[in-house]
Assembly symmetry: C2
Homo-oligomer: 116 residues x 2
């Protein structure tokens, strides 16, 4: 079977509260992560919620990256979905882990689209 | 433990090839699904790739919906990520299943953000 997409489901706990609270810092880190992964950003949306929380998505030529933050719980939920053999999603994860400074985290790797 | 997000990982196989090929039809169906789920769309990006394939994301007040299609494999990969007790992600799935007409599919439900 061939696998079309690789999807890292990332859970970050006890993050740096200042960093995950600000839409600018979240956006910068996610764009940096997309670059580190060797992906090509097509377009992105980043949104700050009142009173707190940031949501963001980047559509990349190789699928998408997404993030949602809950500063009140110091939690960030991240999806790194790539396709193609040239993408390096774990390099993106490395950037994310370094910049959001979670004390605990989990990553689950899923293979999406199993075709003959 | 409290769960912050509910994430449906949807794999659609043997879809209607015309429908998953066109950016307009993919966008319409995803926006209809977001409405059916009772979510509030904040912004969206839909992109058609050459020679084929569509990627799209909708940032909703309750997190995000995303889709990637591979018409050459009749496959569509969909993520329905919602938070809050008022969202109805399975209603979105119902719309998606009806409109993309997959002959086979799988759905996995993940709970994201387990906090005390």
């Amino acid at each position: 079977m061939r696998v079309l997409g690789e999807h890292l489901i990332v859970e970050l706990y006890d993050c740096d509260i200042d960093i995950i609270s600000k839409v600018d810092s979240v956006q910068n880190i996610m764009l940096k992560a997309a670059k580190a992964a060797g992906t090509v950003a097509i377009d992105s949306i980043f949104h700050h919620f009142q009173p707190y929380g940031v949501s963001g998505v980047i559509v990349i030529a190789e699928s998408h990256f997404a993030i949602h933050t809950w500063p009140e719980h110091r939690y960030a939920s991240i999806d790194l979905y790539t396709c193609g053999e040239k993408s390096r999603p774990w390099a993106a994860f490395k950037v994310i882990k370094k910049m959001f400074k979670p004390k605990h985290f989990s990553v689950m790797k899923m293979e999406r689209g199993l075709v003959p």
